[in-house]
Symmetry: C2
Subunit: 430 residues, 2 copies
């Protein structure tokens, strides 16, 4: 059933600064596509079945722009470290286990089950270096009915031998084989080219990846200007590069292909310390920032100047960044996005006003959704995805508006225990 | 039954930097007092009934050093404001309702029910201006089996007429009457003198409160150096005061009575912007800092330099600070304490190392517990309070240690839905 109407208290971003709420409203889905939100159901949709979610809150499925599936098992542990140490101690040993298909089966089953139960419907996922288990993850994401861009990670240096590609040729061959194998296999699960970050990829590998991207017309997902230690290291590795992002751009992995002149979706995690030139290039090339405030605190990286990015017109979404971020909750990411923007205003730059709750909600829905097309709203023409939240376990001491109920649900992490139904691309997942 | 043994995976702070965990251990409670934690149950306790909590995690009841009971109803809403605006728009109108005993009955019933269900056993509570509903709150806290210091708020300026005491004499009389009325009434619920903060209290009222404190030998609970706007305002109100805390100290409301020379417990919320003189006075007078990192982000106040305070030997605990803080979860407060300390290191002062998870756990247990005496541990001589956490809903992809399971439980907010049993002062609450 891909055509139906949801009835309930409907909330979505009308624009970047405004959440529209319709109490007891109707959100129409026709053939998997949203057809708008109405106070009274229009005559033309009267024949569609109505699913009545009563007094619950109905929001678009959330979009997680940056998540490491192969780090999920240790989330919420080992948090007392900075990024580069954290990678060596936590991330690399765990990711190395995904050479073992038995472990991958076990770990990815849990990951996908939890993604399915979460408030997110769309994901940009880093898997691990290994193509075989990455394919397994893609099969599981597809089967779960979720929408995702999944990447086999490329990394041929700066990691233990067990985890890295041992030569540029091996990396190229493995990556191409993976891409060919999964070609045309999935409806909602697509590959994304995923150089881990510049410290993990030799210049030669980066060039090859630029060619592979062109050959398969892929989007790109990576990390950028996250941590001062990392940035200093990149400067040593690429002394001739004017800034970090230029290292991706010179091999056409930064939103624009310099050979064909075409643009392609590119998601860069973090962008905390991007300078003016880098920001300008992101803007010109249409690179999307995956803002991951929890991780940026957890591994002591800093605060990304999201207000500045939004004012400049950069496209920004939110990422849980498991397991530098500890929770898959994008409600938590929204709260953290507002919170760290207030600290940024207070401690760093008072010309950057705090992000408001409606803006954070926009980041988690339409903002990130742009990477996937028209995603993250119930407005006409959007892909229809929705999450139904039951906030009846909260007290009703005060007569709250739907908007206040939504804000409370987000701040009080209702997504951890209060999701009652979930729809993705017009299909009900539960 | 106040003598028993809890069996399970027991976790408590051995010292400020170390969590001791005993897998399948025994925590002994004799007559409401802790008698230590053992790998094997000592012969002398063999006759006590053993309550077996299986593979669950057992931690001391947490201590919430700063919470506004009369703001609970709107928690998680109206967060897009800075402190002084937030007080006018959110806090004052809501607190004004507690003149109405019917509303107070409804709102405080919900508050106390949720405090009972939370992971906290000990609370330092601001109620509202009204003595009658404050007494009602105390009755309810007592009935719930929780331990608390509860304060009728004093405020005779800077608030709407409906909420403020209209004269110093009225304030004094009301406060004395409240104190006399509840004298000797409760076992676990004690009064705490609670001038809201200097912007709310005239110099004359502060002097009277200093006398009342001496007369009734009370502890003190208030706010200090939270927000730059507030601090500037205090400077205007008390131009002759060298720093904010001196305004409390000169009337003997800052940990030390200058008439008798005696010390008394004093909890000051926030202390974000305390200067060297203020810090030194806190140290000398034995003032405890209630660190409220969520609120400090939510109302754009800043980050308290907790590393510095700990290094100097100041006593520090955690506060949820409902409703500037949005959640009663002290797990969230622990995570936020670690997170903002990392941002402080990164963005403000690299001589202040981040707070570690064991340190945050110490703050939430023994650190805050000091205000109540020997509270927040299972070690011999501590008051026995405990919370039992069921983390079986989490995956066991990795073979985690008890310490890792505890860290994960805290980071993933298990206290919101995974508390299976709670003990306070040797009594089982559920």
């Amino acid at each position: 059933m891909k055509s139906f109407v949801l009835k309930g208290n409907i909330c979505y971003s009308a624009d970047q600064k405004t959440i529209r709420t319709v109490e007891g409203g109707y959100a129409v889905c026709a053939d998997g596509m949203a057809k708008g939100v109405y106070e009274t159901l229009p005559e033309e949709y009267a024949a569609l079945p109505v699913i009545d979610h009563g007094d619950m809150l109905i929001i678009p499925g959330l979009v997680d722009l940056h998540i490491h599936a192969a780090q999920y098992a240790y989330r919420g542990t080992g948090m007392d470290m900075e990024l580069m140490e954290w990678l060596d101690v936590n991330a690399f040993p765990e990711e190395g286990k995904f050479a073992d298909m038995e472990y991958a089966e076990k770990a990815y089953s849990v990951f996908v089950k939890h993604m399915r139960e979460s408030a997110s419907t769309h994901f940009v996922v880093m898997a691990s270096r290994y193509p075989k288990s990455t394919k397994l993850l893609m099969e599981k994401m597809e089967e779960a009915g979720l929408v995702s861009l999944v990447g086999k990670v490329n990394m041929n240096r700066g990691a233990p031998d067990y985890l890295r590609e041992m030569s540029e040729e091996e990396a190229a061959e493995e990556t191409r084989r993976w891409l060919v194998e999964i070609q045309g296999k999935f409806r909602h699960t697509k590959p994304v080219l995923t150089p881990r970050f510049i410290p993990s990829c030799t210049d030669g590998l980066m060039e090859i990846l630029g060619e592979i991207r062109r050959e398969f017309d892929l989007p790109v997902h990576s990390h950028l200007s996250e941590n001062l230690g990392e940035i200093e290291f990149v400067r040593e590795l690429q002394p001739d590069s004017p800034f970090y992002g230029a290292g991706y751009d010179r091999v056409s992995l930064f939103g624009k292909d310099h050979v064909t002149g075409k643009h392609f979706p590119t998601v860069m995690g973090h962008c905390i310390w991007s300078g003016e030139e880098e920001i300008r290039m992101m803007l010109e090339n249409g690179v999307t920032v995956a803002h991951c405030p929890a991780c940026n605190m957890n591994v002591s990286s800093g605060i990304a100047p999201i207000r500045k990015y939004l004012d400049m017109g950069l496209n920004v979404g939110l990422g849980s960044d498991i397991a530098g971020g500890h929770t898959v909750s994008l409600f938590n990411a929204m709260v953290n996005a507002v919170q760290v923007s207030k600290l940024y205003w207070r401690l760093v730059d008072q010309s950057c006003a705090a992000i408001t709750f409606p803006e954070a909600f926009h980041l988690a829905t339409k903002g990130g959704g742009q990477v996937f097309g028209k995603v993250g709203s119930f407005e006409d023409g959007y892909e229809f995805s929705a999450v139904v939240l039951d906030d009846s376990s909260f007290d009703r001491t005060l007569p709250l508006t739907v908007l206040q109920r939504l804000e409370r649900a987000v701040y009080l992490s209702l997504d951890l225990y209060g999701i009652r139904a979930k729809y993705c691309c017009g299909e009900r997942l539960f």
